[in-house]
Protein backbone atom coordinates (compact mmCIF):
# COMPACT_ATOMS: atom_id res chain seq x y z
CA UNK A 1 0.00 0.00 0.00
CA UNK A 2 1.18 3.51 -0.72
CA UNK A 3 2.82 5.39 2.07
CA UNK A 4 -0.07 7.03 3.86
CA UNK A 5 -0.17 10.28 5.72
CA UNK A 6 0.80 9.61 9.28
CA UNK A 7 1.41 13.02 10.83
CA UNK A 8 -2.06 14.29 11.60
CA UNK A 9 -1.53 17.35 13.76
CA UNK A 10 -4.08 18.98 11.50
CA UNK A 11 -6.93 16.64 10.58
CA UNK A 12 -8.61 18.98 8.11
CA UNK A 13 -8.63 19.79 4.44
CA UNK A 14 -7.68 23.44 4.24
CA UNK A 15 -8.07 25.58 1.15
CA UNK A 16 -6.84 29.11 1.67
CA UNK A 17 -7.02 32.04 -0.74
CA UNK A 18 -6.76 29.95 -3.90
CA UNK A 19 -6.57 31.66 -7.31
CA UNK A 20 -6.62 30.02 -10.70
CA UNK A 21 -6.75 31.39 -14.24
CA UNK A 22 -6.89 29.73 -17.65
CA UNK A 23 -4.78 32.02 -19.79
CA UNK A 24 -6.47 35.41 -19.36
CA UNK A 25 -9.68 34.10 -17.87
CA UNK A 26 -9.69 34.26 -14.10
CA UNK A 27 -11.70 31.29 -12.83
CA UNK A 28 -11.10 31.27 -9.08
CA UNK A 29 -10.52 34.44 -7.07
CA UNK A 30 -9.32 33.77 -3.57
CA UNK A 31 -11.39 30.75 -2.57
CA UNK A 32 -11.06 29.53 1.02
CA UNK A 33 -12.78 26.64 2.73
CA UNK A 34 -12.10 23.79 5.06
CA UNK A 35 -13.46 20.37 5.76
CA UNK A 36 -13.29 18.17 8.86
CA UNK A 37 -13.47 14.37 9.17
CA UNK A 38 -17.04 13.09 9.14
CA UNK A 39 -18.27 16.11 7.25
CA UNK A 40 -19.89 16.46 3.83
CA UNK A 41 -19.45 19.76 2.06
CA UNK A 42 -21.66 20.54 -0.93
CA UNK A 43 -20.36 22.82 -3.66
CA UNK A 44 -22.90 24.34 -6.01
CA UNK A 45 -23.12 27.14 -8.51
CA UNK A 46 -23.91 27.82 -12.14
CA UNK A 47 -22.04 26.18 -15.00
CA UNK A 48 -18.53 27.53 -15.58
CA UNK A 49 -18.08 29.22 -12.21
CA UNK A 50 -15.08 27.03 -11.35
CA UNK A 51 -16.54 24.18 -9.30
CA UNK A 52 -14.71 21.44 -11.18
CA UNK A 53 -11.57 23.55 -11.32
CA UNK A 54 -11.63 23.86 -7.53
CA UNK A 55 -12.19 20.11 -7.22
CA UNK A 56 -9.26 19.43 -9.56
CA UNK A 57 -7.01 21.75 -7.57
CA UNK A 58 -7.93 19.95 -4.36
CA UNK A 59 -7.35 16.61 -6.11
CA UNK A 60 -3.83 17.86 -7.05
CA UNK A 61 -4.54 17.31 -10.74
CA UNK A 62 -3.44 20.84 -11.54
CA UNK A 63 -1.59 23.48 -9.54
CA UNK A 64 -3.15 26.66 -8.23
CA UNK A 65 -1.70 29.98 -9.35
CA UNK A 66 -1.79 31.28 -5.82
CA UNK A 67 -2.93 30.11 -2.39
CA UNK A 68 -2.53 27.03 -0.22
CA UNK A 69 -4.16 23.66 -0.13
CA UNK A 70 -3.28 21.06 2.47
CA UNK A 71 -4.73 17.84 3.75
CA UNK A 72 -3.88 16.62 7.27
CA UNK A 73 -1.16 19.28 7.22
CA UNK A 74 0.43 17.84 4.06
CA UNK A 75 0.66 20.43 1.27
CA UNK A 76 -0.84 19.54 -2.09
CA UNK A 77 2.58 19.76 -3.73
CA UNK A 78 3.68 16.57 -1.94
CA UNK A 79 1.89 14.40 -4.43
CA UNK A 80 2.59 10.93 -3.15
CA UNK A 81 1.44 11.23 0.50
CA UNK A 82 -1.26 13.73 -0.41
CA UNK A 83 -2.82 11.60 -3.13
CA UNK A 84 -2.63 8.36 -1.16
CA UNK A 85 -5.63 9.37 0.95
CA UNK A 86 -7.80 10.85 -1.80
CA UNK A 87 -10.63 9.11 -3.59
CA UNK A 88 -11.51 10.86 -6.84
CA UNK A 89 -14.84 10.22 -8.55
CA UNK A 90 -15.04 12.17 -11.82
CA UNK A 91 -18.23 13.18 -13.54
CA UNK A 92 -17.81 10.65 -16.37
CA UNK A 93 -17.50 6.93 -15.91
CA UNK A 94 -13.76 6.56 -15.48
CA UNK A 95 -13.67 2.81 -15.88
CA UNK A 96 -12.74 0.53 -18.72
CA UNK A 97 -16.05 0.01 -20.57
CA UNK A 98 -15.02 -3.35 -21.99
CA UNK A 99 -14.09 -4.97 -18.71
CA UNK A 100 -16.50 -6.25 -16.14
CA UNK A 101 -17.18 -4.18 -13.03
CA UNK A 102 -15.36 -6.79 -10.96
CA UNK A 103 -12.21 -6.68 -13.11
CA UNK A 104 -12.22 -2.90 -12.98
CA UNK A 105 -12.53 -2.85 -9.22
CA UNK A 106 -9.85 -5.53 -8.76
CA UNK A 107 -7.50 -3.40 -10.85
CA UNK A 108 -8.13 -0.30 -8.75
CA UNK A 109 -7.79 -2.36 -5.58
CA UNK A 110 -4.40 -3.54 -6.82
CA UNK A 111 -3.31 0.01 -7.60
CA UNK A 112 -4.40 1.06 -4.11
CA UNK A 113 -1.73 -1.23 -2.73
CA UNK A 114 -3.62 -4.43 -1.95
CA UNK A 115 -0.87 -6.89 -2.75
CA UNK A 116 -2.49 -10.28 -2.22
CA UNK A 117 -5.49 -11.68 -4.03
CA UNK A 118 -7.34 -12.05 -0.75
CA UNK A 119 -6.76 -8.41 0.13
CA UNK A 120 -8.00 -7.30 -3.27
CA UNK A 121 -11.11 -9.43 -3.04
CA UNK A 122 -11.87 -8.10 0.41
CA UNK A 123 -11.42 -4.52 -0.75
CA UNK A 124 -13.73 -5.11 -3.68
CA UNK A 125 -16.30 -6.86 -1.54
CA UNK A 126 -16.37 -3.91 0.86
CA UNK A 127 -17.09 -1.31 -1.84
CA UNK A 128 -19.52 -3.56 -3.67
CA UNK A 129 -21.60 -3.70 -0.51
CA UNK A 130 -21.23 0.01 0.05
CA UNK A 131 -22.37 0.93 -3.47
CA UNK A 132 -24.81 -1.97 -3.76
CA UNK A 133 -23.65 -3.25 -7.12
CA UNK A 134 -23.73 -7.01 -6.57
CA UNK A 135 -26.04 -7.57 -9.53
CA UNK A 136 -23.74 -6.07 -12.13
CA UNK A 137 -20.41 -7.32 -10.87
CA UNK A 138 -19.76 -9.58 -13.82
CA UNK A 139 -21.23 -7.30 -16.46
CA UNK A 140 -19.02 -5.18 -18.70
CA UNK A 141 -19.33 -1.56 -17.61
CA UNK A 142 -20.60 -0.60 -21.07
CA UNK A 143 -23.63 -2.86 -20.54
CA UNK A 144 -24.54 -1.48 -17.13
CA UNK A 145 -27.37 1.01 -16.81
CA UNK A 146 -26.40 4.65 -16.27
CA UNK A 147 -27.18 4.43 -12.57
CA UNK A 148 -25.26 1.20 -12.03
CA UNK A 149 -22.28 2.51 -13.98
CA UNK A 150 -22.23 5.59 -11.73
CA UNK A 151 -22.36 3.41 -8.65
CA UNK A 152 -19.48 1.33 -10.01
CA UNK A 153 -17.61 4.55 -10.71
CA UNK A 154 -18.13 5.59 -7.11
CA UNK A 155 -17.01 2.16 -5.89
CA UNK A 156 -13.76 2.48 -7.87
CA UNK A 157 -13.05 5.76 -6.10
CA UNK A 158 -13.62 4.19 -2.71
CA UNK A 159 -11.67 0.97 -3.12
CA UNK A 160 -8.47 2.47 -1.70
CA UNK A 161 -10.24 3.43 1.56
CA UNK A 162 -9.67 7.17 1.07
CA UNK A 163 -9.99 9.72 3.85
CA UNK A 164 -11.06 12.52 1.53
CA UNK A 165 -13.56 11.75 -1.22
CA UNK A 166 -14.01 14.19 -4.09
CA UNK A 167 -17.12 13.74 -6.18
CA UNK A 168 -18.03 15.63 -9.32
CA UNK A 169 -21.79 15.44 -9.85
CA UNK A 170 -22.11 11.82 -8.78
CA UNK A 171 -25.87 11.70 -9.27
CA UNK A 172 -26.19 13.55 -12.57
CA UNK A 173 -28.73 12.01 -14.94
CA UNK A 174 -29.55 8.83 -13.06
CA UNK A 175 -32.69 7.23 -11.70
CA UNK A 176 -33.93 7.85 -8.17
CA UNK A 177 -33.01 4.37 -6.95
CA UNK A 178 -29.37 4.79 -7.92
CA UNK A 179 -29.37 8.34 -6.56
CA UNK A 180 -30.63 7.10 -3.21
CA UNK A 181 -28.08 4.31 -3.20
CA UNK A 182 -25.24 6.75 -3.86
CA UNK A 183 -26.42 9.24 -1.23
CA UNK A 184 -26.82 6.40 1.29
CA UNK A 185 -23.30 5.24 0.54
CA UNK A 186 -22.00 8.74 1.19
CA UNK A 187 -23.89 8.95 4.48
CA UNK A 188 -22.28 5.68 5.57
CA UNK A 189 -18.86 6.96 4.63
CA UNK A 190 -19.46 10.06 6.72
CA UNK A 191 -20.24 7.83 9.66
CA UNK A 192 -16.90 6.12 9.09
CA UNK A 193 -15.17 9.50 9.45
CA UNK A 194 -14.49 10.31 5.79
CA UNK A 195 -14.44 13.88 4.53
CA UNK A 196 -16.55 14.35 1.44
CA UNK A 197 -16.57 17.23 -1.01
CA UNK A 198 -19.33 16.96 -3.55
CA UNK A 199 -20.27 19.10 -6.54
CA UNK A 200 -23.93 19.00 -7.39
CA UNK A 201 -26.38 21.09 -9.38
CA UNK A 202 -29.37 19.88 -7.38
CA UNK A 203 -29.53 21.90 -4.18
CA UNK A 204 -32.26 19.73 -2.66
CA UNK A 205 -29.93 16.75 -2.91
CA UNK A 206 -27.16 18.70 -1.24
CA UNK A 207 -29.53 19.85 1.49
CA UNK A 208 -30.53 16.26 2.09
CA UNK A 209 -27.04 15.01 2.77
CA UNK A 210 -24.55 17.84 3.25
CA UNK A 211 -23.50 19.35 6.54
CA UNK A 212 -22.58 22.57 4.81
CA UNK A 213 -23.18 23.99 1.35
CA UNK A 214 -21.10 26.67 -0.32
CA UNK A 215 -22.05 28.43 -3.51
CA UNK A 216 -19.46 29.54 -6.01
CA UNK A 217 -20.17 32.57 -8.14
CA UNK A 218 -17.76 34.42 -10.39
CA UNK A 219 -14.84 32.54 -8.90
CA UNK A 220 -15.70 33.44 -5.31
CA UNK A 221 -17.58 31.72 -2.54
CA UNK A 222 -20.81 33.71 -2.12
CA UNK A 223 -21.32 33.07 1.53
CA UNK A 224 -17.97 33.03 3.27
CA UNK A 225 -17.04 29.70 4.75
CA UNK A 226 -16.80 30.98 8.30
CA UNK A 227 -14.80 28.03 9.53
CA UNK A 228 -11.93 28.79 7.21
CA UNK A 229 -8.99 30.48 8.84
Amino acid sequence: MNKRVTAQADDRLVVRDVWKAYRREQVLRGVSLQLRPGEILGLCGANGVGKTTLLNLIASIMPADRGEISLFGVPVSQHRPYRSVIGYVPQNIALSPRLSVRRNLLFWAALAGNRTRVQRRQAVQRVVELARIHDVLDKPVSRCSGGMARRANLAAGLVGQPRLILLDEPTAGIDSESRDAILDSLARLREQGCMILMINHYEHELERICDRIVTLSDGRILEADLDAD
Binding site: N2, Y22, V27, N47, G48, K51, T52, T53, N56, A59, S60, I61, M62, R80, R83, I86, Y88, P90, Q91, N92, I93, A94, L95, S96, P97, R98, L99, R103, F107, W108, A110, L111, A112, A156, G157, G160
Partner: protein, 397 residues
Protein backbone atom coordinates in the same frame (compact mmCIF):
# COMPACT_ATOMS: atom_id res chain seq x y z
CA UNK B 1 2.51 -1.19 -10.96
CA UNK B 2 3.57 -1.33 -14.58
CA UNK B 3 2.82 -5.04 -14.69
CA UNK B 4 -0.66 -4.42 -13.30
CA UNK B 5 -1.27 -1.75 -15.86
CA UNK B 6 -0.08 -3.99 -18.72
CA UNK B 7 -2.35 -6.76 -17.47
CA UNK B 8 -5.25 -4.33 -17.27
CA UNK B 9 -4.73 -3.13 -20.84
CA UNK B 10 -4.27 -6.68 -22.03
CA UNK B 11 -7.61 -7.69 -20.55
CA UNK B 12 -9.13 -4.60 -22.08
CA UNK B 13 -7.70 -5.42 -25.48
CA UNK B 14 -8.91 -9.00 -25.57
CA UNK B 15 -12.45 -8.53 -26.74
CA UNK B 16 -14.52 -9.53 -29.71
CA UNK B 17 -14.28 -6.17 -31.43
CA UNK B 18 -10.50 -6.18 -31.39
CA UNK B 19 -10.35 -9.80 -32.46
CA UNK B 20 -12.73 -9.12 -35.35
CA UNK B 21 -10.64 -6.14 -36.40
CA UNK B 22 -7.49 -8.19 -36.16
CA UNK B 23 -8.88 -11.03 -38.21
CA UNK B 24 -10.07 -8.53 -40.84
CA UNK B 25 -6.65 -6.89 -41.06
CA UNK B 26 -5.07 -10.31 -41.18
CA UNK B 27 -7.27 -11.45 -44.05
CA UNK B 28 -6.86 -8.25 -46.05
CA UNK B 29 -3.11 -8.22 -45.64
CA UNK B 30 -2.92 -11.94 -46.43
CA UNK B 31 -4.66 -11.26 -49.72
CA UNK B 32 -2.34 -8.35 -50.43
CA UNK B 33 0.75 -10.37 -49.66
CA UNK B 34 -0.41 -13.41 -51.57
CA UNK B 35 -1.15 -11.28 -54.59
CA UNK B 36 2.51 -10.33 -54.54
CA UNK B 37 3.77 -13.90 -54.48
CA UNK B 38 5.46 -14.52 -57.80
CA UNK B 39 5.72 -17.93 -59.47
CA UNK B 40 8.94 -19.80 -58.89
CA UNK B 41 11.42 -19.75 -61.70
CA UNK B 42 12.25 -23.44 -61.90
CA UNK B 43 15.71 -22.96 -63.37
CA UNK B 44 17.16 -20.53 -60.88
CA UNK B 45 14.91 -21.41 -57.97
CA UNK B 46 14.36 -17.72 -57.44
CA UNK B 47 11.01 -16.04 -57.67
CA UNK B 48 10.19 -14.33 -60.95
CA UNK B 49 8.78 -10.82 -61.06
CA UNK B 50 6.18 -11.34 -63.79
CA UNK B 51 4.88 -14.14 -65.93
CA UNK B 52 7.00 -14.05 -69.12
CA UNK B 53 5.15 -12.40 -71.98
CA UNK B 54 4.90 -13.14 -75.70
CA UNK B 55 5.34 -10.55 -78.42
CA UNK B 56 5.03 -10.33 -82.18
CA UNK B 57 7.31 -8.31 -84.38
CA UNK B 58 6.24 -7.44 -87.90
CA UNK B 59 9.51 -6.64 -89.63
CA UNK B 60 9.04 -5.10 -93.04
CA UNK B 61 12.40 -3.38 -92.85
CA UNK B 62 14.62 -6.49 -92.68
CA UNK B 63 17.63 -4.31 -91.84
CA UNK B 64 20.52 -4.47 -89.44
CA UNK B 65 18.59 -2.32 -86.96
CA UNK B 66 15.47 -4.47 -87.04
CA UNK B 67 17.50 -7.68 -86.66
CA UNK B 68 19.32 -6.23 -83.68
CA UNK B 69 16.04 -5.19 -82.19
CA UNK B 70 14.61 -8.70 -82.55
CA UNK B 71 17.78 -10.22 -81.05
CA UNK B 72 17.58 -7.89 -78.11
CA UNK B 73 13.97 -8.75 -77.43
CA UNK B 74 14.81 -12.45 -77.58
CA UNK B 75 17.47 -11.95 -74.95
CA UNK B 76 15.05 -10.27 -72.53
CA UNK B 77 14.18 -12.45 -69.53
CA UNK B 78 10.68 -11.05 -69.48
CA UNK B 79 9.98 -12.19 -73.05
CA UNK B 80 8.95 -15.80 -73.37
CA UNK B 81 8.12 -16.22 -77.06
CA UNK B 82 8.88 -13.79 -79.83
CA UNK B 83 6.97 -14.24 -83.07
CA UNK B 84 8.23 -12.68 -86.27
CA UNK B 85 5.39 -12.83 -88.73
CA UNK B 86 3.12 -10.89 -91.05
CA UNK B 87 0.79 -8.19 -89.83
CA UNK B 88 -2.31 -10.32 -90.45
CA UNK B 89 -0.97 -13.25 -88.43
CA UNK B 90 0.16 -10.96 -85.62
CA UNK B 91 -3.18 -9.13 -85.55
CA UNK B 92 -5.03 -12.48 -85.28
CA UNK B 93 -2.73 -13.53 -82.47
CA UNK B 94 -3.34 -10.25 -80.65
CA UNK B 95 -7.07 -10.71 -81.14
CA UNK B 96 -6.85 -14.14 -79.49
CA UNK B 97 -4.93 -12.60 -76.56
CA UNK B 98 -1.87 -14.77 -77.13
CA UNK B 99 0.54 -11.87 -77.22
CA UNK B 100 1.07 -8.68 -75.27
CA UNK B 101 1.76 -6.40 -78.22
CA UNK B 102 2.79 -6.12 -81.85
CA UNK B 103 5.84 -4.09 -82.72
CA UNK B 104 5.44 -2.95 -86.32
CA UNK B 105 8.70 -1.96 -88.01
CA UNK B 106 7.82 -0.27 -91.31
CA UNK B 107 9.68 -0.66 -94.56
CA UNK B 108 12.68 1.70 -94.92
CA UNK B 109 12.71 2.29 -91.18
CA UNK B 110 16.49 2.04 -91.06
CA UNK B 111 16.94 4.45 -93.95
CA UNK B 112 14.50 6.89 -92.44
CA UNK B 113 16.33 6.69 -89.15
CA UNK B 114 19.64 7.43 -90.80
CA UNK B 115 18.41 10.32 -92.86
CA UNK B 116 16.22 12.03 -90.33
CA UNK B 117 18.29 11.15 -87.31
CA UNK B 118 15.13 9.87 -85.74
CA UNK B 119 13.97 6.52 -84.43
CA UNK B 120 10.36 7.27 -85.18
CA UNK B 121 8.16 5.16 -87.39
CA UNK B 122 7.72 2.20 -85.08
CA UNK B 123 4.09 1.38 -84.35
CA UNK B 124 2.95 -0.58 -81.32
CA UNK B 125 -0.37 -2.40 -81.21
CA UNK B 126 -1.36 -3.20 -77.65
CA UNK B 127 -3.36 -6.01 -76.12
CA UNK B 128 -6.12 -4.12 -74.33
CA UNK B 129 -6.70 -6.90 -71.83
CA UNK B 130 -3.14 -6.52 -70.48
CA UNK B 131 -2.80 -2.75 -70.06
CA UNK B 132 -0.25 -2.67 -67.24
CA UNK B 133 2.28 -5.00 -68.80
CA UNK B 134 1.82 -3.39 -72.20
CA UNK B 135 2.36 0.04 -70.68
CA UNK B 136 5.63 -1.07 -69.11
CA UNK B 137 7.00 -2.48 -72.35
CA UNK B 138 5.82 0.55 -74.31
CA UNK B 139 7.60 2.85 -71.93
CA UNK B 140 10.71 0.75 -72.31
CA UNK B 141 10.51 1.00 -76.09
CA UNK B 142 9.97 4.73 -75.98
CA UNK B 143 13.02 5.10 -73.78
CA UNK B 144 15.00 2.98 -76.18
CA UNK B 145 13.84 5.06 -79.13
CA UNK B 146 14.93 8.23 -77.37
CA UNK B 147 18.27 6.65 -76.60
CA UNK B 148 18.78 5.73 -80.26
CA UNK B 149 18.20 9.33 -81.24
CA UNK B 150 20.59 10.59 -78.58
CA UNK B 151 23.38 8.19 -79.43
CA UNK B 152 23.05 8.73 -83.15
CA UNK B 153 23.18 12.47 -82.69
CA UNK B 154 26.32 12.22 -80.59
CA UNK B 155 28.09 9.93 -83.03
CA UNK B 156 27.16 11.92 -86.12
CA UNK B 157 28.43 15.04 -84.43
CA UNK B 158 31.88 13.52 -84.13
CA UNK B 159 31.74 11.94 -87.56
CA UNK B 160 33.41 14.89 -89.27
CA UNK B 161 36.19 14.95 -86.74
CA UNK B 162 36.87 11.26 -87.10
CA UNK B 163 36.81 11.22 -90.95
CA UNK B 164 40.53 12.10 -91.52
CA UNK B 165 41.51 8.99 -89.53
CA UNK B 166 39.93 6.69 -92.07
CA UNK B 167 41.09 6.09 -95.62
CA UNK B 168 37.74 4.71 -96.66
CA UNK B 169 34.73 6.82 -95.56
CA UNK B 170 32.47 3.77 -96.06
CA UNK B 171 34.42 1.90 -93.41
CA UNK B 172 33.96 4.78 -90.98
CA UNK B 173 30.27 4.91 -91.78
CA UNK B 174 29.90 1.17 -91.20
CA UNK B 175 31.67 1.33 -87.88
CA UNK B 176 29.61 4.27 -86.71
CA UNK B 177 26.43 2.45 -87.64
CA UNK B 178 27.52 -0.67 -85.84
CA UNK B 179 28.43 1.27 -82.69
CA UNK B 180 25.22 3.29 -82.74
CA UNK B 181 23.00 0.28 -83.15
CA UNK B 182 24.82 -1.80 -80.56
CA UNK B 183 24.82 0.96 -77.99
CA UNK B 184 21.21 1.84 -78.57
CA UNK B 185 19.91 -1.65 -78.23
CA UNK B 186 21.96 -2.43 -75.21
CA UNK B 187 19.65 0.05 -73.62
CA UNK B 188 16.66 -1.97 -74.76
CA UNK B 189 18.15 -4.96 -72.99
CA UNK B 190 18.55 -2.77 -69.92
CA UNK B 191 22.28 -2.92 -70.19
CA UNK B 192 22.94 0.74 -70.00
CA UNK B 193 26.04 2.14 -71.61
CA UNK B 194 26.43 4.35 -68.59
CA UNK B 195 27.72 2.30 -65.71
CA UNK B 196 25.27 2.42 -62.83
CA UNK B 197 25.31 0.96 -59.37
CA UNK B 198 23.07 -2.07 -59.45
CA UNK B 199 22.14 -1.52 -55.79
CA UNK B 200 20.70 1.89 -56.63
CA UNK B 201 18.13 0.45 -59.00
CA UNK B 202 14.66 0.22 -57.55
CA UNK B 203 13.37 -3.32 -57.42
CA UNK B 204 9.61 -3.37 -57.43
CA UNK B 205 8.73 -6.41 -55.34
CA UNK B 206 11.06 -5.65 -52.39
CA UNK B 207 9.93 -2.02 -52.55
CA UNK B 208 6.24 -2.97 -52.42
CA UNK B 209 6.73 -5.57 -49.70
CA UNK B 210 8.84 -3.31 -47.50
CA UNK B 211 6.34 -0.47 -47.94
CA UNK B 212 3.35 -2.68 -47.28
CA UNK B 213 4.85 -4.30 -44.19
CA UNK B 214 5.74 -0.85 -42.85
CA UNK B 215 2.23 0.37 -43.53
CA UNK B 216 0.72 -2.58 -41.67
CA UNK B 217 2.98 -2.09 -38.66
CA UNK B 218 2.17 1.62 -38.54
CA UNK B 219 -1.53 1.14 -39.16
CA UNK B 220 -1.90 -0.82 -35.91
CA UNK B 221 -0.97 2.31 -33.97
CA UNK B 222 -4.36 3.76 -34.87
CA UNK B 223 -5.88 1.28 -32.42
CA UNK B 224 -4.44 3.37 -29.60
CA UNK B 225 -6.30 6.52 -30.57
CA UNK B 226 -9.79 5.65 -29.31
CA UNK B 227 -8.35 4.09 -26.18
CA UNK B 228 -6.35 7.16 -25.24
CA UNK B 229 -9.28 9.42 -26.10
CA UNK B 230 -11.64 7.38 -23.96
CA UNK B 231 -9.12 7.32 -21.13
CA UNK B 232 -8.68 11.07 -21.39
CA UNK B 233 -12.31 12.09 -21.75
CA UNK B 234 -13.73 9.76 -19.12
CA UNK B 235 -11.28 10.90 -16.44
CA UNK B 236 -9.67 7.46 -16.29
CA UNK B 237 -6.27 8.92 -17.06
CA UNK B 238 -6.57 11.42 -14.22
CA UNK B 239 -7.64 8.64 -11.92
CA UNK B 240 -4.60 6.61 -12.97
CA UNK B 241 -2.35 9.60 -12.33
CA UNK B 242 -3.80 10.02 -8.85
CA UNK B 243 -3.22 6.31 -8.23
CA UNK B 244 0.46 6.90 -8.87
CA UNK B 245 0.76 5.84 -12.50
CA UNK B 246 3.39 7.96 -14.27
CA UNK B 247 2.96 9.08 -17.89
CA UNK B 248 5.89 6.94 -19.05
CA UNK B 249 4.31 3.88 -17.43
CA UNK B 250 1.03 4.56 -19.15
CA UNK B 251 2.75 5.02 -22.52
CA UNK B 252 4.93 1.97 -22.08
CA UNK B 253 2.03 -0.25 -21.02
CA UNK B 254 -0.09 0.82 -23.98
CA UNK B 255 2.75 0.34 -26.40
CA UNK B 256 3.71 -3.05 -25.00
CA UNK B 257 0.20 -4.20 -25.74
CA UNK B 258 0.35 -2.78 -29.21
CA UNK B 259 3.70 -4.39 -29.89
CA UNK B 260 2.31 -7.76 -28.89
CA UNK B 261 -0.64 -7.22 -31.16
CA UNK B 262 1.51 -6.07 -34.06
CA UNK B 263 3.86 -8.99 -33.60
CA UNK B 264 0.95 -11.43 -33.66
CA UNK B 265 -0.34 -9.77 -36.78
CA UNK B 266 2.94 -9.69 -38.64
CA UNK B 267 4.35 -13.04 -37.65
CA UNK B 268 2.48 -15.06 -40.32
CA UNK B 269 3.64 -12.67 -43.03
CA UNK B 270 7.19 -12.69 -41.90
CA UNK B 271 7.09 -16.46 -42.10
CA UNK B 272 5.55 -16.32 -45.58
CA UNK B 273 8.16 -13.81 -46.65
CA UNK B 274 10.97 -15.86 -45.22
CA UNK B 275 9.94 -18.69 -47.56
CA UNK B 276 8.88 -16.61 -50.53
CA UNK B 277 11.69 -14.09 -50.62
CA UNK B 278 14.39 -16.06 -48.84
CA UNK B 279 14.24 -13.32 -46.23
CA UNK B 280 16.88 -13.91 -43.60
CA UNK B 281 17.04 -13.22 -40.77
CA UNK B 282 13.30 -12.54 -40.57
CA UNK B 283 13.29 -11.78 -36.80
CA UNK B 284 15.38 -8.73 -37.65
CA UNK B 285 12.68 -7.59 -40.05
CA UNK B 286 10.17 -8.11 -37.25
CA UNK B 287 12.27 -5.95 -34.98
CA UNK B 288 12.44 -3.16 -37.58
CA UNK B 289 8.67 -3.24 -37.97
CA UNK B 290 8.10 -3.22 -34.23
CA UNK B 291 10.39 -0.23 -33.82
CA UNK B 292 8.59 1.66 -36.60
CA UNK B 293 5.18 0.69 -35.21
CA UNK B 294 6.12 1.72 -31.69
CA UNK B 295 7.48 5.07 -32.83
CA UNK B 296 4.26 5.73 -34.74
CA UNK B 297 2.21 4.64 -31.73
CA UNK B 298 4.12 7.16 -29.62
CA UNK B 299 3.18 9.86 -32.11
CA UNK B 300 -0.46 8.79 -31.94
CA UNK B 301 -0.40 8.86 -28.14
CA UNK B 302 1.00 12.39 -28.24
CA UNK B 303 -1.62 13.44 -30.77
CA UNK B 304 -4.52 11.90 -28.84
CA UNK B 305 -3.29 13.41 -25.59
CA UNK B 306 -2.89 16.94 -26.86
CA UNK B 307 -5.82 17.20 -29.26
CA UNK B 308 -9.05 18.88 -28.19
CA UNK B 309 -12.25 16.82 -27.92
CA UNK B 310 -13.98 16.01 -31.19
CA UNK B 311 -13.82 13.76 -34.21
CA UNK B 312 -11.05 15.75 -35.87
CA UNK B 313 -8.38 13.72 -34.12
CA UNK B 314 -9.00 10.59 -36.14
CA UNK B 315 -8.80 12.59 -39.36
CA UNK B 316 -5.61 14.26 -38.18
CA UNK B 317 -4.17 10.87 -37.29
CA UNK B 318 -4.95 9.50 -40.75
CA UNK B 319 -3.43 12.53 -42.43
CA UNK B 320 -0.35 12.24 -40.27
CA UNK B 321 -0.03 8.56 -41.10
CA UNK B 322 -0.41 9.20 -44.83
CA UNK B 323 2.18 11.97 -44.67
CA UNK B 324 4.62 9.71 -42.81
CA UNK B 325 4.13 6.97 -45.38
CA UNK B 326 4.44 9.37 -48.31
CA UNK B 327 7.54 11.07 -46.93
CA UNK B 328 8.90 7.64 -46.08
CA UNK B 329 8.71 6.55 -49.71
CA UNK B 330 6.04 3.93 -49.04
CA UNK B 331 3.47 5.38 -51.42
CA UNK B 332 5.75 6.67 -54.19
CA UNK B 333 9.39 5.64 -54.52
CA UNK B 334 11.75 8.02 -52.81
CA UNK B 335 13.35 9.03 -56.12
CA UNK B 336 10.04 10.43 -57.39
CA UNK B 337 9.49 12.68 -54.39
CA UNK B 338 10.48 16.35 -54.24
CA UNK B 339 13.68 17.15 -52.38
CA UNK B 340 12.06 18.78 -49.38
CA UNK B 341 9.85 15.73 -48.85
CA UNK B 342 12.89 13.49 -48.96
CA UNK B 343 14.45 15.58 -46.22
CA UNK B 344 11.22 15.51 -44.20
CA UNK B 345 11.15 11.76 -44.73
CA UNK B 346 14.12 11.39 -42.40
CA UNK B 347 11.73 12.17 -39.54
CA UNK B 348 9.35 9.42 -40.57
CA UNK B 349 9.77 5.96 -39.06
CA UNK B 350 8.40 4.66 -42.36
CA UNK B 351 11.46 5.97 -44.22
CA UNK B 352 13.93 3.97 -42.16
CA UNK B 353 11.76 0.92 -41.77
CA UNK B 354 11.15 0.66 -45.51
CA UNK B 355 14.80 1.23 -46.30
CA UNK B 356 16.07 -1.33 -43.80
CA UNK B 357 13.60 -3.98 -44.92
CA UNK B 358 14.24 -3.23 -48.58
CA UNK B 359 17.94 -3.68 -48.01
CA UNK B 360 17.28 -6.96 -46.28
CA UNK B 361 15.13 -8.22 -49.12
CA UNK B 362 17.70 -7.23 -51.73
CA UNK B 363 20.60 -8.52 -49.69
CA UNK B 364 22.19 -5.10 -49.40
CA UNK B 365 23.98 -4.06 -46.23
CA UNK B 366 22.18 -1.31 -44.32
CA UNK B 367 24.20 1.61 -43.05
CA UNK B 368 24.40 1.70 -39.23
CA UNK B 369 23.09 5.26 -39.43
CA UNK B 370 19.70 3.90 -40.50
CA UNK B 371 19.44 1.98 -37.24
CA UNK B 372 20.60 4.98 -35.27
CA UNK B 373 18.00 7.17 -36.94
CA UNK B 374 15.22 4.70 -36.26
CA UNK B 375 16.25 4.34 -32.63
CA UNK B 376 16.64 8.09 -32.26
CA UNK B 377 13.21 8.74 -33.74
CA UNK B 378 11.71 6.20 -31.37
CA UNK B 379 13.23 7.95 -28.36
CA UNK B 380 12.19 11.37 -29.62
CA UNK B 381 8.59 10.36 -30.26
CA UNK B 382 8.45 8.48 -26.95
CA UNK B 383 9.42 11.69 -25.19
CA UNK B 384 6.68 13.51 -27.08
CA UNK B 385 4.15 10.84 -26.03
CA UNK B 386 5.15 11.02 -22.37
CA UNK B 387 5.02 14.80 -22.45
CA UNK B 388 1.61 14.69 -24.13
CA UNK B 389 0.26 12.31 -21.50
CA UNK B 390 1.57 14.52 -18.73
CA UNK B 391 -0.39 17.42 -20.20
CA UNK B 392 -3.78 15.71 -19.98
CA UNK B 393 -6.12 17.70 -17.78
CA UNK B 394 -9.74 17.07 -16.98
CA UNK B 395 -12.29 19.15 -18.84
CA UNK B 396 -12.96 22.38 -17.01
CA UNK B 397 -16.40 23.29 -15.90
Amino acid sequence: MLTRLIRFYWQELLNWQTLTLLISILLISALLFLSLSAPEDTESGRPALFEPVSLSIVDLDQSVISYTLIDQFRSLEAVDTLFTESMDEAAARLERGEILLILYIPDQFYEATRQRLSASGLTIYLNESMPSEAAILTRMLNNAAESVVGIQSAIYTYQAGAEPLYDDPAELWQQIEAVAVTLAFRLVGRKSVISTLDSQRLRTVPQVISSLATLLAMLCSLLLLPQIRQEKESGLHVRLTLAGIRPWQSALARQSMLMLLTAALLLPFLLILSNMMALKPWPLTGLILLLAGTATAALMIGLASLSPPGDGTLLAAWLLLIFLLLAGGCIYPESLLPGWLNIAGHLSPAYWSRQLIYNQLTGTASPPMAWLWLGGLLLFYESAAVWGLSQIRPDRA
